[in-house]
Symmetry: C2
Subunit: 323 residues, 2 copies
Amino acid sequence: MSAYSIGVDLGGTNLRAAAIDENGRQLDRYSIATPNREGSREEIVAGIVALVRGVQERVGAGELRGVGIGVPGYIQMDTGVIVSAANLPFTNFPIRDDVQNRLGIPILLENDANAAALGEHWMGAGRGVNSLFLLTLGTGIGGGIIIDGKVLHGFAGMAGEPGHMTVYPDGNPCGCGNQGCLEKHASATAVVAMARLLGLGDNRITASDVYEMAVAGNGRAKVVFECMGRALGIALANLINLFNFPLYLLSGGPLPAWDMFAPTMFAEVKRRSYTYSRTETKIEKATLGSEAGLYGAAYLPFQRKDTEPSMRLEALQEFNDSR
Amino acid sequence: MSAYSIGVDLGGTNLRAAAIDENGRQLDRYSIATPNREGSREEIVAGIVALVRGVQERVGAGELRGVGIGVPGYIQMDTGVIVSAANLPFTNFPIRDDVQNRLGIPILLENDANAAALGEHWMGAGRGVNSLFLLTLGTGIGGGIIIDGKVLHGFAGMAGEPGHMTVYPDGNPCGCGNQGCLEKHASATAVVAMARLLGLGDNRITASDVYEMAVAGNGRAKVVFECMGRALGIALANLINLFNFPLYLLSGGPLPAWDMFAPTMFAEVKRRSYTYSRTETKIEKATLGSEAGLYGAAYLPFQRKDTEPSMRLEALQEFNDSR
């Protein structure tokens, strides 16, 4: 049996774990609803530990290379501390060491958007592509940058925030203090906001409703997706001119509306990036969906040799030897 | 005596070479006017060979690690071919192998803007900083991206084109096909164009004239630099949100006007990038000026061990042994 690792996706709604082998084959998986009562931090950590132990027991034999956890928040990479997390009760919490101490297995952390990018690189639409940019369209717009197979973190762990690129200098005000941020013009939230402004519905309308209207031929709904495509195109052209990666991936809820926003998006990119026009640059749908983060988390232990201090590798050796 | 390398800066006006040791000390340098008659390609190549030999002879003893050449054009990195070059008679010309064959010394090529970024990283304002972005303001706006001490080339060697980032989606049309490119709003050329539009002078006015007017209190000239600062600020905020590097450097002709454009630039960056507001991110003047490319070219052989095939290292060994 080949070596495997366990990936954990700590989401606001679900807490999932999967054992995945070196070839990307899922050996076992399990998920629970993320404990979300007041003061549920201990429950969440205990849940992670229980999930990992459960998966590990069911897999049985095989060399466990480590556990990777994808976290929806801001992580201090060197200390393994969650500084803050969206919708989760973690503030300045040393989750890596805490889980590591309980499990006795080396733990690796990654931001969830970065983990998703890594997952797509390993087993998704970016398989075989060394450098790529993943944009995740949702409430906001997140992203992950993979260069030569590794996540670009930046010096403070804040690299890859395409959602706050300025696409319209005098555009829609954003909570970050800026105006015209990409995510104010191209996220699922932005689609809903535009639809409401165009009188397509009230506060119960969803991005998916707007899509249905566009498919049914509603001109204003079509305009919403054209505007989304234009903003995405401006941003993607910038990314292409800066990074010259071979691949840019889009994922997230609005992906089914691809046919509605993609034509405008491609037209903008073509016009605004001569690098795009002159090279085999690809803009594609991500393929792993919500599984991407799980794959990326599981990939962390496999790529660790290059990137982590040997100390932890030794601890892992001991752990495997002791079994 | 310590090891040294020779950096060559192939400019449209001057052809320069300098022997620089591992510690960044210049041992010798020489420059000639770049031959610019019709069909002067052979003269230029012969000039490079003569400059390198001359510098090498005057340095005398010492281990030569190689020769790096900075080229103002588009290079195929793997083949060492200049695909095209601004103001120089090179089209699909295998300059690396040609010079290498004549000199019998391993040659490394780099685009001039990338070389300048590498030079600032090695011996300039970016000394001790592993990852940085250099923007060179001139006729256009070029740039170089250094990540963990290495140039980011992109898959087609076209990474780092900040000049064509869209800062105003409906802005000034650019020769690249886009509108509102950064370089149409913040280069020396853009400063002149704005000044003319504001009635500050005719086609003989220079960016430096506009600066003198602003210093003398001319309100319209001040507005020109505020507009330049705003465009730079929008672009820099995007770069900071994407890369989260600790350092962004500006170089080029308009640098003396720093006090005129920097206040608006910093105000925009602060407003548009929460990463900037929350981290110790620095935006500074580059310090090597036109020497940056020469230093960067000379640095190439020193960093080669990590990045180049061993074959050429062996060739270099033979070369040094044979002396």
